[in-house]
Symmetry: C2
Subunit: 344 residues, 2 copies
């Protein structure tokens, strides 16, 4: 599999690091996964034999720019020219996300799919705005669109719904899909502090963003829930279909009262089929000790599916950081190389 | 996909029921999954257009035998003849398991793979005895061997390891892989009763077998752990490589003491890479409230994988009974039809 990496931010660089570390002992060596293109805002690198990812990663870590990379055998390239050369099997789209326009990722993904190139992305914008269109385009062109990284990174939430629940009708999705809020709730519970103080600590530790609104007001959870629902329940929902409440209104008293009765507050995204319709919500809910989501702690994430034939399935995991995110991109590539058809 | 069902016991019949219920609204209708052959000890049915599974299931439930099924368009057939007709895409092998010889399943599976037919099975015997041989045969013939049902039924333990951890090296496997022992431990904990009394209750409820030794002495867990380890850690281990202890020695005092410190006993199967070698064990272990396996209750099952790149992944689920087991057979068929290559 010949990869084009488009976008060299945190996850893009972690992907190069991961690819540099994969050696002859990796279980996927038979798949011949190599990076032939690296395309960033300021320039591109091309090597028909595969770029030395370890060297390139070191160069970028030392402050180098893609445009200035001197290694032999490569020359300037852009996405357009790369696509037209016909030696790109998978485009990995990791440019910065824009949830209003989806650009530049949306255009990149459209072009690649249209040319018959598989796409794997961690870029939420295009998927939130145009999943159905892109999925249909992929199906028409007979290629795959891997989006596992957009709904919890290393947590295999889409995989679990598509592959591990294959053949069952999913009746409900409930998930703890945002690590920062889960960490803040844990802080409030363990240390009895106010929301504001817990948030501050999360920010100090780099777990919450400087502008935490997307997380704590529930919109990050809502975005991931929306993608899961549209993929797994064949829906065509938008963010406006979700009743969204965050965790900012919770007091230490609420949390202490829940603890008294053996429960914990968790920010839960939920999609449920009620009388044939999908009903969606995001809100802080009390979860008892016997619920499989009770033990999902700290920065962890989880999702639970129910069905009548395969019963319930809960997956818990989703290590945070750029390496696990890159590993989830790599996972989609491996599964595509092994023949799996995500797009239906 | 044209299916041959071989073996019409509990899971086989549940599979017919499930297939009978799948209709035009199922998400897999594009895969055209139909049952063309049913082969039981006393006879066989063949229909090139697909057997009416609903009718056949009703006939069998009323006490009918496969050999006596009168519905039109079908005629007597056996596996040999079926395989030679070349219109069988997947053989579903569900004859009774024999852990000493693997027969008759082992011969059925060998023949089908050798003829270039995919195989999906819930029959542990052949997989325990000959997984590596069968997997290599499947790879040589370019067909798939789906064995998800053999390691926890509806719990997608193999899927999670192969597909959800794709591209990561699995460093450890730990699992609660046996529902009956998990139920017995819960009974002892909640009601403070002796092991013998908890076992009796599990037997009354049909959760434990009349001869419970395979379960309570840890050998069922060991069998499943062995299959997972050989598939996911590319091992060639046998049951003799596992140190196995069951739950029969646990006293109400042990369990109360664990409870005092906020822990629970769980029967854990574990495979761990230590200094480059895989070390395997099955034993009752104390698990604290923050461990993701703590909340795995009653008849549920779970497995947890660790890796350096994708972090930890825990999957909890695995509804018991013949319908979930049949649904896990169907899941493997759907994933094969969607192109996934289990055999590497």
């Amino acid at each position: 599999m010949r990869i084009a990496l488009v976008g060299c931010g945190g996850v893009g660089r972690a992907f190069l690091k991961l690819m540099g570390e994969k050696g002859a002992t990796s279980r996927e060596k038979d798949l011949n996964i190599q990076v032939n293109y690296i395309i960033d805002v300021d320039g591109g690198i091309y090597s028909p034999e595969g770029v030395d990812c370890r060297k390139l990663h070191e160069f970028l870590e030392r402050g180098g720019r893609v445009a200035d990379y001197p290694a032999g055998g490569s020359y300037d390239i852009n996405l357009e020219r790369g696509l037209s050369q016909g030696d790109m099997d998978v485009m990995v789209e990791l440019t910065p996300t824009n949830k209003d326009t989806g650009e530049p990722g949306l255009t990149h993904i459209r072009k690649a799919l249209d040319r018959g190139t598989h796409v794997v992305t961690g870029n939420k914008g295009p998927i939130l705005l145009a999943y159905r269109e892109l999925n249909e385009l992929a199906a028409r062109r007979g290629v795959q669109l891997g989006i596992g990284c957009t709904t919890g990174g290393a947590l295999p939430s889409i995989n679990a719904g598509l592959i591990d629940m294959a053949g069952a009708e999913i009746e409900s999705i409930e998930g703890i899909l945002n690590g920062s809020t889960n960490f803040i709730l844990k802080e409030m519970e363990e240390r009895g502090v106010e929301y504001g103080e817990a948030l501050k600590r999360a920010q100090e530790l780099g777990i919450a963003e400087t502008d935490p609104r997307l997380d704590v007001e529930g919109w990050d959870t809502a975005s991931k829930l929306l993608i899961l629902t549209n993929v797994l329940m064949a829906g065509d929902k938008t963010l406006e279909d979700i009743g969204v409440e965050g965790i900012t209104g919770l007091t230490p008293e609420d949390i202490a009262a829940a603890r008294e009765e053996g429960s914990r507050y968790k920010l839960i995204g939920r999609s449920q089929v009620i009388e044939g319709k999908v009903v969606m919500s995001v809100e802080a809910e009390k979860v008892g000790v016997e619920h499989t989501l009770y033990g999902v702690e700290g920065k962890n994430k989880a999702v639970r599916y129910t069905s009548s034939t395969l019963g319930d399935l809960t997956v818990i995991g989703g290590a945070s950081g750029t390496i696990p995110a890159a590993a989830s991109i790599y996972r989609d590539i491996v599964n595509i190389a092994r023949g799996y058809r995500f797009s239906q």
